[in-house]
Point group: C4
Amino acid sequence: MIDRRRRFEQAEGLSNWRAKANEIIFGADTFAGKLFDILLIVAILISVAVVMADSVPSLDRRYHLLWLWMERGFTILFTIEYIVRLMSVSRPVRYAFSFYGMVDLLSILPTYLSVLIPGVNSFLVLRILRVLRVFRVLRLMHYIGEAEVMTLAIRQSLRKILVFLYAVLTMVVVFGSLMYVVEGSENGFSSIPKAIYWAIVTLTTVGYGDVVPHTPLGQFIASAVMIMGYAIIAVPTGIYAAEISQVMTTRRDARGCPGCGKTGHDVNAHYCKFCGTSLDPLHQE
Amino acid sequence: MIDRRRRFEQAEGLSNWRAKANEIIFGADTFAGKLFDILLIVAILISVAVVMADSVPSLDRRYHLLWLWMERGFTILFTIEYIVRLMSVSRPVRYAFSFYGMVDLLSILPTYLSVLIPGVNSFLVLRILRVLRVFRVLRLMHYIGEAEVMTLAIRQSLRKILVFLYAVLTMVVVFGSLMYVVEGSENGFSSIPKAIYWAIVTLTTVGYGDVVPHTPLGQFIASAVMIMGYAIIAVPTGIYAAEISQVMTTRRDARGCPGCGKTGHDVNAHYCKFCGTSLDPLHQE
Amino acid sequence: MIDRRRRFEQAEGLSNWRAKANEIIFGADTFAGKLFDILLIVAILISVAVVMADSVPSLDRRYHLLWLWMERGFTILFTIEYIVRLMSVSRPVRYAFSFYGMVDLLSILPTYLSVLIPGVNSFLVLRILRVLRVFRVLRLMHYIGEAEVMTLAIRQSLRKILVFLYAVLTMVVVFGSLMYVVEGSENGFSSIPKAIYWAIVTLTTVGYGDVVPHTPLGQFIASAVMIMGYAIIAVPTGIYAAEISQVMTTRRDARGCPGCGKTGHDVNAHYCKFCGTSLDPLHQE
Amino acid sequence: MIDRRRRFEQAEGLSNWRAKANEIIFGADTFAGKLFDILLIVAILISVAVVMADSVPSLDRRYHLLWLWMERGFTILFTIEYIVRLMSVSRPVRYAFSFYGMVDLLSILPTYLSVLIPGVNSFLVLRILRVLRVFRVLRLMHYIGEAEVMTLAIRQSLRKILVFLYAVLTMVVVFGSLMYVVEGSENGFSSIPKAIYWAIVTLTTVGYGDVVPHTPLGQFIASAVMIMGYAIIAVPTGIYAAEISQVMTTRRDARGCPGCGKTGHDVNAHYCKFCGTSLDPLHQE
């Protein structure tokens, strides 16, 4: 909220059309801003679908030219958008080097390179960069309140999750090495990294079945790893559930009663539930 | 509750037998209504079992005529029920175009079509529509209080779950594309959609094993995706657990305010949060 | 607690040695009772291990006689225990037809039948009944407070879980039938029941990989089922987490303050947290 | 905290350099202590990576000497660290026989043995012990508050988790034996232990697909096991989520009583629940 207002005030300092462009492109409060956001999401999703369709051999052969020209059309569109974005923000350099600025640039670059340098199109890595456009939709989700609550809960539980992940990695290394000794190369556990890959596949309950224990002892250890994975999957869930509960509670905790100073009131509460004083200045008679 | 009473009052405006039929078919308060519901559930479950048995080659050859005539019997039964339903509701058109009305119609239509138009029975899609009958049992579950609490919790956390799902889809697209580049067609990642299918199979910890990474780098990225999936499966669980806790709490503390009659007060509240009236008789000065 | 005291009082009405036997076999308060329980658990676990070892071809050939005589020894032991149990309870018939009474009987019967009727040993089903002994350890876990909390939470959330399971079964039937149409027999979806089996394997994120979608449309639907399974696995977890939280809270909620009547005190609280009155009669000065 | 202070006071009783060494090696409060910890983590992680790389056939052939000398270098480093640790603690014997003391010793021993006794290097089990070094990083995580909260929550819910695991093992034994009878050796269920392995793979939703039901009845039972596993995975999550919520709450409300100094009071408590003193300065009459 504060961030958006600040940005809007900065925009007022800009020339008139730049302020207008800023409002439409970055804002979602006006009709034009909302329309722009919806059109942008549609364009992004179609262009990502084009990149995908382009990779399917049977589709690529038949409609190759269609994908080529659609891609060029979207690239021109997104380039115009990128330039207008750069011009309408008050700090273009900071924008260009931000995460979303980089995504905006990287996802249009490959098409230009393929036109300018003929041979470059064979580099799959470059072409695939266009897929990064999916990230651009995430930017528009910041307006949704739910996303904020979730991001906050994730950020607050990040340290706990990382500690948990290190413990998981330790288990995976120890059990992987153990299975490497027990099963050996003849049963597919050809090296410790491969055995750790197996341990991760098993502990996370993915269970591809490409590497599988064959000896009775190996199957016993594998069973232990599975049950362990089954029991400890609860850990991140517990952390996150507790954290999101707190975030949701904290949200209503914010207002203090002017009468008794106590907090913990619901969002829709008009009167303090402890002393009966009005919480809402509009209702103050 | 309110909905049911309203429906009942509407039914009173109808002719006598239609009111009676409405009470038996749509209600579950009278003995006849409960008996009808139980018989209907049994009939639905048997008829769905017949559709299933009909699809098993070994069973189909031997008992083909049995399935055929049972199916016709059930279809006649459900048709009569459908017509009575249509006649006993006050707004037949609205019912016919509602979700359950469509299900009722679509699940009896295929049998009639197969009798009227001989060749139509070869269209598997049509025949399979009869399976939609399973949805009809869900309608009867609305009477169960537990279902209401769960539906409410799901509805309230729907927006959060959708935001989460979009984030998951973004990850799946990015990691799928990355694996398409790293592993390539020779290892089964023949196109980006196929690679995204792999990413979904992996992130959701399903792990069929039909598409599997073969290069060390691919296995490393796959391990990262698995651990990520393992860590973020906690997110919807956390959301839902927090939401269901709130719904259950809100229900339990259904104290009505003596001043304004509103409910939803906290357990430790002494005063109504809407109008400031004392909730606690001991504190009433 | 109350149940155990009632049983003890009933036991007092019995003859002296029966009361003693009852105390040792059913109770866990005396030293003899605890010792008996531990010895019983050890005997049960070893006898189950013998049944398992008996089924392993390589072990069976070598140590066949050892397993045979160990099994007969355990059967005699468990038979004596069963008879003493029957004699020491006040209502032997009710015990004999209770769940644990049936388990006690069924798990010793096969060995007698194999001795009396020579040919009966070939019936694998009968022999396997001996494995039911594992249930007998569960009986001894009722003394553990943690088990009680968990059983209570499971019992209270049972109805919700059943409603959830029916919804899951509906989804599985609909998606299985859909995949039967889309993929067909040539891709392993040979009948609707088989396709439903696939849907369950997928939705529960087990993912054997024995039945797998091959067409692009099938893989798309499969992806949808997986993500759905991933999102709704949160439902039973949420229900259970909320329920267990409530059970744990209710446990501390039990005591009312003698001064102000308020509840919600911790188990280790000596004074009411609302008015400061002593909660503990031993501390009442 | 208290533990660390006590250790520090003990260290003051030692000679000066030993106290200094103790502070650097065991502490994390001084700059030197922090630097040492970070260098140690880096050294441990690299040395574990060397053990892993050593097991990869393609890498081993090319860089065999590099791994050999890096390993020897790390072993000398860790040996010095181990000796200084032993000398700087006040009770060296107790340290040597503690979990981390054993890990420290066991992870350097194999390299010495391979130099002293030429043939010993062929024993894979011995060489793999060096992987135990990953545990050493866990020791340094005890300084992180998050790890403490998690360990506390795990320790408190351990008994519940164990009760749950026994119930799971009972189910697995019963369903495994059932499937052994239903499917039999010809479908891969060659013995009860193998069938139990299958049941664990299925119930934990790992689903390798190496052992899979082939008969319709077997697939039906398997479906039941899967749905059961899907429904009861909620149990440990619920336990843990409830437990971690309580631990986090207890921590936050660490208000000390002005009368007895004890903490652990609820947020809405006005009086100490241990001695009855008013916690709220506003209520102090």
